[in-house]
Symmetry: C2
Subunit: 340 residues, 2 copies
């Protein structure tokens, strides 16, 4: 057995505000020898997701965080290079949660075997991975969104948002997607087939919203937060149901905005219109992952659930790839870093 | 049969902001003759409740409203003065929903017969009426508040709040009441037996909150809204559950406050800590009223569920009685107007 070196990006510091390069540290460690029942794999693809900012620690969050000095977390796809586990053979493709490191050892219990002949293996990080699972759980297990109602999805051109919006269409909802810029809204209408798409960057955003929501909002899938929500919430119908999946606009905020305080208005709307708001965190509901896979796999293979991907080459690009998720430069497609 | 005249306070205008005297109109109409199956009663007690401001119309509310020209709504207690309905005899005490008028005719289906020998009849407007029902429904049917957790009740010295807080104690929760001023907090601790009472008018309100919530908030019963909520919400625990029963501080607001915008913070807290927020409206859940009565009656008769009452004499005082509910002069006890 050759002695192998393992590169890891560990968490060097908990950022206050946006993540910086200095919050990560590149280290090299030896790959341990396998014990009986263990398997060694080399990561080939790393998923880049907004929730990874939370993994680095955000003051008031109850999401799991990574300890300082541990490798950054997140889903990966890898290939088995050694095995002392009868369930895994060399060359097998596996999806893991070991995060930002070249190699990892597992007893197999946290690995999902992927069939590279069935679908591109990158889908195990996208529509058939955590991204799709997040959308599916938020659309099906948090609230019972009734067919026929109007669903609004913010961040609808993003990887989770686009999956949620399409699942809404498949469930028989009228779906209005919110995204930034005419390219994204065209994508929502023309590629994803949403009923309407609102450009939150447009000068007439408020008027667009009013025009596209003649019957109000029955279901709301929130990925964004920030200043656009107060405009949308005014359109809540009686018994509207809102799922908070993420608040990407606010993850890295260190100070609250000044100006009009919309909090009393939201509480009043909840009171006046019996709005119900819930949230969820995928790390705590992974027991439903097999149910998700069973439902989503035929939708992805048949092309009913579309997805976009963008690849970045190079292990050393992992930190900047995560940072660009939040700076507005990202296209909205699923971002995956390929290991050289 | 004597010709009788019926005084009514009708809705003259929908207020913008706080209700004014000119929003009500005193009119006199004839009492119609009874048809077969009908009963005529004279109202002796009128319940004064914050939600009556909503009945007058609030721009974005889905609560039922009164039409202009119709009598102001609300629960009453009355005595039957004529009956062509075999289920009701002259002298029977009834609880109705006919609002601000001396007399009313009913076919009996919307009347509840009250036994004046069992309890003071005013309890049919308080702990065994809409007030108690509101507290009971919000505490038992909206969320499942787990025993052992910490419950915060705002407006805890109010009629709904004090019932909710005591129901919380009876359910095995640690209950922290929020009210304004040392008299009310002493009442919460000494009379109602709450675990802690916070004075939101105190200069050290924020510190009091931190001291009295060492284990955070698991359950929240919101009656108030306004500026104290952003202080409290920071103490939400994972999976905290919040029931919005009312937002008395905001009912009559016509403009949102300026300063820090706490809305993104609430959405972030919901996301980070999986907080769940729901509301309810008693007019739509009256089918559970019998279940409430069966549970609450023994609690009230045994003295386990305490209540305070304040009486005002004179039909003509109805409008001002409602207006004082919102101007801070009210003691927090259940306010009932007695007909002369």
């Amino acid at each position: 057995m050759t002695k192998r070196t393992n590169r890891q990006y560990t968490l060097a510091a908990r950022p206050r505000g946006p993540a910086k390069l200095s919050d990560f540290k590149l280290v090299e460690v030896d790959v341990p020898e396998l014990r009986h029942g263990e398997v060694l794999f080399r990561n080939t693809l790393f998923s880049i997701d907004p929730y990874q900012r939370n993994l680095m620690g955000n003051g008031s969050s109850e999401w799991p965080t990574i300890d300082i000095g541990d490798p950054m977390g997140g889903p990966t796809v890898g290939v088995v290079v050694e095995s002392r586990n009868p369930d895994f053979g060399v060359g097998d493709t596996v999806q893991s949660w070991v995060g930002w490191q070249d190699f990892a050892v597992s007893n197999g219990s946290d690995l999902r075997k992927i069939d590279p002949g069935a679908m591109p293996v990158s889908t195990a990080l996208g529509p058939l991975g955590l991204t799709g699972f997040t959308a599916w759980y938020g659309m099906t297990k948090v609230h019972d969104f009734k067919p026929g109602g109007t669903l609004v999805v913010t961040g609808a051109a993003g990887s989770v948002g686009s999956a949620a919006a399409q699942l809404g269409k498949l469930r028989g909802l009228r779906v209005v997607g919110v995204a930034g810029g005419p390219h994204k809204t065209a994508f929502l209408r023309d590629e994803l087939g949403l009923d309407e798409a609102v450009d939150y960057k447009a000068a007439d955003f408020k008027e667009q919203v009013a025009r596209m929501l003649p019957d109000g909002i029955d279901a709301f899938f929130e990925n964004v937060g920030g200043p656009i929500f107060p405009v949308l919430m005014e359109h809540f119908n009686t018994d509207a149901k809102m799922t908070v999946c993420g608040t990407i606009a606010d993850y890295s905020e260190t100070e609250l905005p000044k100006g009009t305080n919309y909090l009393p208005r939201l509480i009043t709307l909840i009171h006046y219109r019996f709005v119900s708001i819930k949230a969820f965190a995928t790390p705590y509901v992974m027991d439903t992952f097999p149910e998700f896979l069973a439902e989503a796999t035929p939708l992805v293979t048949s092309g009913q659930l579309k997805y976009g991907e963008e690849f970045v080459d190079g292990f050393e690009r992992l930190p900047t790839a995560l940072m660009t998720l939040f700076d507005g430069s990202h296209s909205g497609k699923k971002l995956i870093v390929r290991n050289d």
